[in-house]
């Protein structure tokens, strides 16, 4: 059993229990969302003691050096004294400059951060509704091209943040955001390499960001983007992607739709996985980006790897839903 000190209280952790789970059990309102070490919403800071390596996995070096860690991934083996992170260090302001509905349930939110805000297209940032409630969204815009940061927000049934962003937030409002993170983004240096991007739902946001970034940086290899959807109504950027394909000879767009009456290219009734394997029939030297539903991302990852893609060339961003608590 390990003891942690928080808020002047000694708290005993059961074996295998995380710091986040112990604090929530005690009734502390610690910000958290994915509880899987990805969204970084539950970042806290160590006062004294040794952090397990896993609890700092994925954090920027500057944050690691300041003793920041993720409470959801922290199972300390030795006593630890911790505090809530100084929100001001991590959060910044942004102004809403665009608020449009795309299709049935996706909001295209464009924000302009105050001051410098570094990111790669395809990374995700956290939007805070309050001190303790925040959700992560992926970036679809390109830093050097656009003077805003674009996020796609699907309305989640009973979703506290998504419904607030859809219904209450408007152009001109100030939002609190947190620095961008994640390793799913375009890496320059091999402009002739073929790129495959596939995903479901608003997994399209990072895929669009990565494709746009690649094109903006002069990528010359083929870029294939496949959006998997249940119905054509879910193809919320259909026309934009068709236009992108007609403007760039090396950009190709396919929509794999499960339930559809009229099949016209780029729409196909072939499954997402079938389309992926047909488009990338020899992916040995391709770069592959997979985003969206964790289950589908996992299936596609295995399929494309077995088809010949190298493990080190596959980048994934499974969208993990917020834990309800």
């Amino acid at each position: 059993m390990t003891v942690i000190v928080f808020d002047d209280q000694k708290i005993e952790l059961e074996s295998g229990q995380t710091v986040l789970s112990a604090l929530l059990d005690r009734g502390y309102d610690i910000p958290n969302s994915c509880q899987a070490g990805a969204c970084q919403t539950c970042m806290m800071q160590v006062v004294e003691g040794e952090l397990p390596e896993k609890s700092q996995s994925g954090l920027k070096d500057t944050l690691k050096a300041q003793g920041y860690f993720l409470a959801c991934s922290c199972e300390p083996q030795t006593p630890l004294s911790i505090k809530v992170s100084q929100a001001a260090d991590l959060r910044s302001q942004a102004t809403v400059v665009g608020h449009d509905c795309l299709g049935a349930d996706v909001l295209r939110l464009r924000i302009k951060p105050t001051g410098t805000f570094d990111f790669y297209s395809g990374q995700y940032l956290t939007v805070w509704k309050s001190e303790t409630v925040g959700r992560s969204y992926s970036i679809a815009s390109v830093a050097k091209r656009d003077d805003y940061v674009e996020l796609h927000i699907r309305r989640i049934k009973d979703g506290v943040v998504s419904n607030w962003l859809h219904d209450e937030v408007k152009v001109g409002d100030e939002l609190q955001i947190q620095s961008a993170t994640g390793s799913c983004f375009y890496i320059p240096g091999t402009p002739e390499q073929n790129i495959l991007l596939a995903g479901t739902g608003t997994g399209l946001a990072p895929l669009l960001g990565i494709a746009s970034d690649a094109l903006h940086q002069g990528h010359s290899g083929d870029i294939h983007l496949i959006h998997g959807a249940l119905t054509v109504d879910d193809l919320y950027l259909h026309q934009l992607l068709i236009d992108m394909a007609s403007q760039h000879s090396n950009f190709n767009y396919y929509a794999s739709v499960l339930k559809v009456e009229q099949v016209l290219p780029p729409v196909t009734t072939e499954s997402l996985q079938g389309t992926v394997l047909a488009v990338a029939d020899d992916p040995a030297d391709w770069k592959v980006y997979l985003c969206g539903s964790p289950e589908i991302v996992g299936q596609l990852k295995k399929a494309i790897f077995l088809a010949g893609a190298s493990m080190k060339n596959i980048y994934t961003d499974p969208f993990i839903s917020a834990h309800s608590s």
């Binding site: 990852k301 295995k302 077995l306």
Partner: protein, 121 residues
């Protein structure tokens, strides 16, 4: 004396070997139930450490790691037949990379030396 690790081309060759070997185990019905549904990146890292070890490269693998790391699989029925299959796929991987038969035998011998640890005997 140089090792198989050096002769096949060091770390870069091991990276290639991981892709080939992992594809073989996922496609092999004798063993793939033990590899399905796990985090693929973590699994690839473990395989890299394992392949580096059996190729005689720089590693920190211990018998204890092999024992602890496979206990939950032994509980699910992991036995000699599975170890035999893995050693066979390991040989196939090396053959795909163009390794000499004597090197394949050397790697099989190292893999065999940890058999009792893997099977917790």
């Amino acid at each position: 004396m140089s090792s198989v690790y050096d002769r096949i081309g060091g770390e870069a060759a091991v990276d290639k070997a991981v892709d080939i070997f992992y594809r073989k185990v996922l496609a092999d019905d004798r063993v793939n139930e033990y590899f399905d549904g796990v985090d693929m990146d973590k699994q690839a890292n473990k395989q890299k450490a394992f392949l580096t070890m059996v190729f005689g490269g720089p590693n920190n693998y211990t018998g204890m790691d092999m024992r602890e790391g496979h206990k939950h699989l032994v509980a699910r029925g992991l036995n000699d037949s599975h170890v035999d299959a893995i050693i066979e796929l390991l040989g196939g991987t090396l053959a795909d990379l163009g390794a000499a038969p004597s090197d394949i035998q050397e790697v099989a011998d190292i893999a065999n030396s940890v058999r009792d640890d893997v099977l917790d005997r």
